[in-house]
């Protein structure tokens, strides 16, 4: 247990360092972008005097290092700073955007795990058969379709042609659970690609495990086939799949941005897109912290799970 404890502490420290690095990188990159918030806000009225006034009002005339220090100082007190554009606290941006994004991600994951593992196991059971080949080609095909195209396609068919589901979540705000129908298409789009990658991974792991000497040995001892499959073979396929799952969650965030734009869901992705286009650095930084922490925690969890199922895999990681 002490070994596991030090492993967790080590990973947590690494995670904190990673988050700090992400934030510094975001700050540096935003500084390197052409123009600043004042220029972006001035838009097609680039009156130099007006830009200077906006810059002053936003304290952008202070040196970058000073702004970073102010911000980092606030962060230590749990203060994420205020938006350059609206002057509202960054924390309200995050708390308001978090709900819809979390809801989408949670629903997607809740469906992804049974669907991905189920499909993977099913394919492995019928390895080489018609079902395996059919599922393989379909998953490969769906995986190749970008979220945006898939979203447009699904909306056209299921919302506009068949009129089964609402085309967007416009006007529902953050209260999406009260209108579950609006969640169907976004979750489908988010689900489409991870299900493909996950099921293919589970299939590969299972196929490999089922062909391994220890499974052959178990079979020779007369262990029932279902027991062999789920207790001996599946855990071996699980370790890479769980790590893939954690990576999928990061990747989901990218998918979420597309899906939120397409279905007008006011979540973190939308907040991020707007903040970037407005050069609203404090908001971008706040989001970077949140995403960074989230990624670190998820990967830590995944490593722990993988560690539990296949202890040897961790040594290599």
């Amino acid at each position: 247990m002490t070994f596991l404890g030090s492993f967790v502490v080590r990973r947590l420290l690494l995670g904190v360092a990673q988050t700090v690095a992400v934030v510094l990188l975001v700050f540096a990159l935003t500084e390197a972008l052409p123009g600043d918030a004042a220029v972006a806000l001035a838009g097609d009225q680039p009156d130099p005097a007006r830009i200077a006034a906006i810059r002053e009002a936003m304290h952008l005339d202070q040196p970058a290092g000073e702004r970073l220090l102010t911000w980092a100082g606030g962060l230590l007190h749990g203060d994420l700073g205020t938006s350059l554009v609206s002057g509202r606290p960054v924390a309200t941006y995050l708390s308001e955007g978090f709900g819809p994004t979390l809801l989408l991600a949670a629903l997607t994951l809740a469906l992804l795990i049974p669907a991905g593992f189920g499909l993977g196991v099913l394919m492995a059971r019928h390895e080489g058969g018609l079902l395996d080949r059919l599922a393989s080609s379909v998953t490969l095909g769906v995986y190749a379709v970008p979220e945006f195209a898939l979203g447009v396609l699904l909306v056209t068919v299921f919302a506009l042609r068949l009129d089964w589901l609402p085309p967007t979540a416009v006007g529902y705000g953050t209260d999406l659970l009260a209108h579950p129908a609006v969640l169907v298409l976004p979750v489908l789009v988010l689900l489409a690609r991870p299900v493909c990658s996950l099921s293919r991974l589970v299939r590969a792991g299972m196929v490999e495990a089922l062909a391994s000497p220890y499974v052959a040995q178990a079979r020779r001892y007369g262990v029932p086939e279902a027991r062999v499959r789920y207790l001996h073979a599946l855990p071996n396929a699980l370790a890479p799949a769980v790590q893939q799952l954690a990576r999928t969650v990061d990747w989901l965030l990218c998918g979420v941005i597309v899906v939120e734009a397409l279905f007008v869901v006011p979540g973190l992705g939308t907040v991020l897109l707007n903040a970037v286009s407005e050069r609203d650095v404090p908001v971008v930084q706040g989001l970077a912290v949140v995403f960074g922490v989230l990624t670190v925690v998820l990967n830590l969890g995944a490593d722990l799970v993988a560690h539990r199922f296949a202890p040897r895999a961790e040594v290599a990681a």
Partner: protein, 519 residues
Amino acid sequence: MRDSWGRRGFLAAGAASLGALALTGCGGDDGGKSAGSGGGSPKRGGRLRAAFAGGGASENLDPHLANLFGDAARAKAQYDKLADYGADLSAQPRLAAKWEPNKTLDRWQVTLREAEFHDGRPVTAQDVLYSYRRIADPAKAFRAKASLEPIDLTASRATGARTIEFVLKRPTAEFPNVLAAFGAYIVPDKAADFDKRPVGSGPFRFVSFAPGRSAVFRRNDAYWEGAPHLDELEFVVANEESARVNALLGGQIEYAHELNPTTARAHEGHGQIEIVRLRGSAMQAFAMKTDRPPFDDPRVRQAFFLIADRQELVNGALSGAGVVGNDLFGKGYEYYAADLPQRAQDLAKARALLKAAGASDLKVTLDTSEVAAGFTEAAGIFRDQAKQAGVTVEVRVGSKDSYWSDILDSGVLACYRSGAMPIEAHISQRLLTDSTTNATHWRHKDFDAQYQQAQSTADPAQRAAVYARMQRRLYTEGGFLVWGFADWIIGTGRQVKGVDTKAPANTLGWARFDKVWLA
């Protein structure tokens, strides 16, 4: 026609009530020409949901911060300006019932109509002065600040509860344009916090607001121009065009602002939704820097005027949703020099001009960016057209976020566009020596003098003659190659009636929901 019925006639006659009546009549006419033909008589009730591309979570209800179309539409529902632009971009009285200049055009008496804010207080001269002083605050950067610059706000004063004397820094015949400036809304005296229960004098009262998601307003029954037909109005934000179209097609919204020409073509005449094209909304141009080679030679500029195949540009870059331009801003607006011959492609003459200027193997860099629809397409098309005249155009795609500021002083040739504004405002903001956004670096003392002359000419006909001379000069040797005017495309549900189809974006009739009803 509109010119003689508009503000000029009204001022010359000095008969406020008659003028106001005529104008109200005009407004009613526009309402009748609704998107849905045979809209019938207005019906009361219902909630209209309108989707705009917006500012997301940093949206603000402060009308003076309005920067995007969505902000402007929201501000318009809730607040009034002293004047606003008619379909020809002439100033129409709104909260100001009338305005009268002194002989030298540097003092204007403005009389407010009887109107009240949503909390019952009357709109007074004090509110107007407070609003304008807030906009002009040197420590702030409100968008309308530059427009209000001609007013000396320390010398201006209230002469009565509803009368104001504006003292100007110089004669300004087009002073009513200042009153109609983008973002010059009137807020109650001392109002500073607009996110919580903002109070305006506009046709709709505030109900609720969630930044980046929705803003709900209810009919103001006491509106001075008559209560709106709608019970409620909701603004929603949908940045993706496909989301706006889908929401409209799916009946989730009734009004979608800013659609693509291809979307419009796909749905026009199919009966599912109505497509409204607001003509003359966006000038499309190439801006040539007239102070540096090769464009400091007027012959090169003239050659470029002749290189452009305007129809091809409109077809290719605007997907046909627009009309060709004639190297002048403001087609169809008040004072537009419509009598100048339409310029067409003439490659032989262009080659001859370039040869005469010693620029036969000319190479220029054309700056463009994804910042506006059709920009990169226009650049590509023009590059091919220029090749036929022996000019090598190298297209450089710049950053979207800093484009406007980048092209202001650097480069030689850039894609340019502008929304609707009076021709006078276009000149004063972009073509005078001290203009703050002079992208063509057009700086001529005699041209400045002509502008000042126009501003000190009280007689509208004489002033029109001065504007005609200025435009003739720009047409011959100016820096803007204006190749087209894009339509602004709006989609509405079939039940939506009373949408003004004549008003360019940013004018009074545009996004004017108090005249709209649901059939």
